[in-house]
Symmetry: C2
């Protein structure tokens, strides 16, 4: 009935058309049980005919619920964002839409990570928050906990959290990788980890150290890197390590991600080492389409856990939390699967002396 671009139909238009009260129309549209089947059918037909869509702002004002969830990303001042983050935006948006929610994306810079949370919370634009890449003692989490705001974390920011989260078992993944190399005979294994402030990096480190210690192997601090700029710093570290600057060079690297592995591979090539021959390399593979472990040359042995698989659980969890259908915090830990490929082999026979 209404013209394209003309004024939108309201609940009042439907009530006028049918000679019903707006109360009944509202109830019919919202599936209240006390409405008669016939009335409901008439209302629904009229709504269709008038191309009625509820005005979300009005609904929000009266219910206090916005049906909007915010994803708050961490970024440096220059808006450098972990590319991993993006892998999940599309999936989150789609899954939230299935539950009739919109996704607002915000960026929290390191300068004041809490500012956007405070603003969104105060303006009542948001029903709940999705956070990721937590730092150890993350200020955003402390703020949301104190404010009593619903949120779900992709990751964990400390042991024994009391909030809902979805996380990879990073400790186990690093342990598996180191153990695989140890089984192949490697004794000097370097770790190229995430930024040291990040919570997941602490887990990786613990898993790596557990494997090394269980095998009675040394793991000097100098051979554990926390690159700030992913590829550049990883390459620089690998070049220094392979050059012998910090002691006997490692025969293998465990990398926390495929971009890090790309940096290490570049440095190894530049140093004239052949991966899968002179040097072994294992990465954690988040299944980023543009940097998959299997597409490396040679293909990378990897612990794998597609980031994208986090989307549905995260969307479901935040919706359930907002809807009051989560009595106790749901906490999900998934495990990576290890796949050996051509980037790992036994070390050269003369290179099997451990550090320390």
């Amino acid at each position: 009935m209404r013209l394209a671009g003309g004024p939108l139909a309201t609940i009042k238009d439907i009530s006028a058309l049918l000679g019903l009260s707006v109360t009944t129309v509202s109830r019919a549209l919202n599936g209240f049980p006390e409405v008669s089947a016939e009335t409901r059918a008439r209302v629904e037909a009229a709504a269709r005919e008038l191309d009625y869509t509820p005005n979300q702002s009005a609904r929000r004002l009266v219910t206090g619920r916005s049906n909007i969830v915010a994803l708050v990303l961490r970024a440096t001042q220059s808006l450098e964002i972990d590319p991993y983050v993006y892998e999940i935006v599309a999936g989150l948006s789609a899954h939230l839409l299935e539950r009739s929610r919109d996704l607002i994306v915000h960026v929290a810079t390191d300068a004041d990570p809490v500012a956007p949370l405070r603003r969104l919370l105060a303006s009542q634009t948001i029903d709940g928050f999705l956070l990721n890449t937590p730092e150890i003692g993350d200020a955003r989490i402390a703020f949301l906990v104190a404010a009593g705001a619903p949120f779900v974390l992709h990751g964990r920011h400390a042991p024994d959290p009391t909030y809902p989260f979805y996380d990879l078992d990073n400790r186990e993944a690093a342990r598996m990788a180191a153990e695989a190399l140890i089984r192949l005979g490697h004794r000097r294994i370097a770790l190229v980890n995430g930024r040291s402030a990040l919570a997941f990096a602490a887990e990786r480190r613990a898993g790596y150290l557990a494997a090394m210690q269980a095998a009675g192997l040394g793991a000097p601090e100098a051979f554990i890197a926390h690159p700030e700029a992913i590829q550049t710093d990883a390459a620089r570290f690998a070049a220094a390590a392979l050059g012998g600057a910090m002691g006997p060079p490692p025969t293998a690297f465990v990398c926390a991600s495929t971009p890090l592995a790309a940096g290490v591979a570049r440095a190894a090539r530049a140093a004239g080492r052949k991966i899968g021959d002179d040097i072994s390399l294992i990465a954690h593979d988040d299944a980023l389409p543009h940097l998959r472990a299997a597409d490396f040359d040679p293909p990378l042995s990897a612990t794998r856990a597609p980031l994208r698989e986090a989307c549905l659980p995260l969307a479901t969890m935040i919706c359930d939390l907002i809807d009051g259908r989560m009595e106790i915090p749901r906490q999900v830990v998934v495990r990576a699967a290890y796949t050996p490929r051509a980037s790992t082999a036994a070390p050269p026979a003369e290179e099997t002396a451990p550090w320390r």
Copy 2:
């Protein structure tokens, strides 16, 4: 004054505290000129003290403006998204926030690209749209034009558009790349383009063909690829081309992106060709942090235009459009800069016969 997590202060609380009408409070807070300086100061102080933040839903309901902009991304059914897209999300969000706007991210699948637009428009959740990666004859654009909805396009979907857009001069970029190779002496230059449905790919093709034709060189269709799956298909095409399957192999490739170039480089290596020696390679570089032309091995000659630089213009344009401060559609075309690096050189002397 108010407790953390307690009820939020409203304009009524301020008016009660100061003995002013809500009308005056509203006017003072919104910078109306007729409010006395003293009153304004008192109101502002009270707002601060009560930690007042306007309820956006109420404001939206009465003004009909949501202060939310939607970024609608294209995706395939499986939610594969062009990684390029993500490069701009953080920047857009930050720049929109400077203008007090939130960014909603939606995904439009190929199955029904218009559905999310219709929904957002009808629910009055959105003041305007940001679209990108247009296809030729993009249905989303036709819909928004017909609906009279404010939008800005990152790209162009046809020649002589009537809407505001920000776009790279793709035709010129491809022409520059092909011309650089021709100047080096190459005669058989293949083009690895974007998906053929995408508008920018038509521009690239036109620029490449213009350069080839101006030099009197053939450019057989068989040597123009439109990979669907970026790296895999690019590698497959390059392998076939270098293997001589379609005729005399090219001595050079122009790639529409660095991920495409990565696929070509992989195939070249697998075929035993040395890039920058046997084979020349030029890519367009969007300055994606994880795949920068300068970080390739060898570093890639490239036409460069950082995607991220689109964020501020796009955010400004959509805000100005919504605010009625754009009388005629603002249309911005930027040019790429060409930087030669080690991936380009003269072709082998015996390989200078043109196609056809």
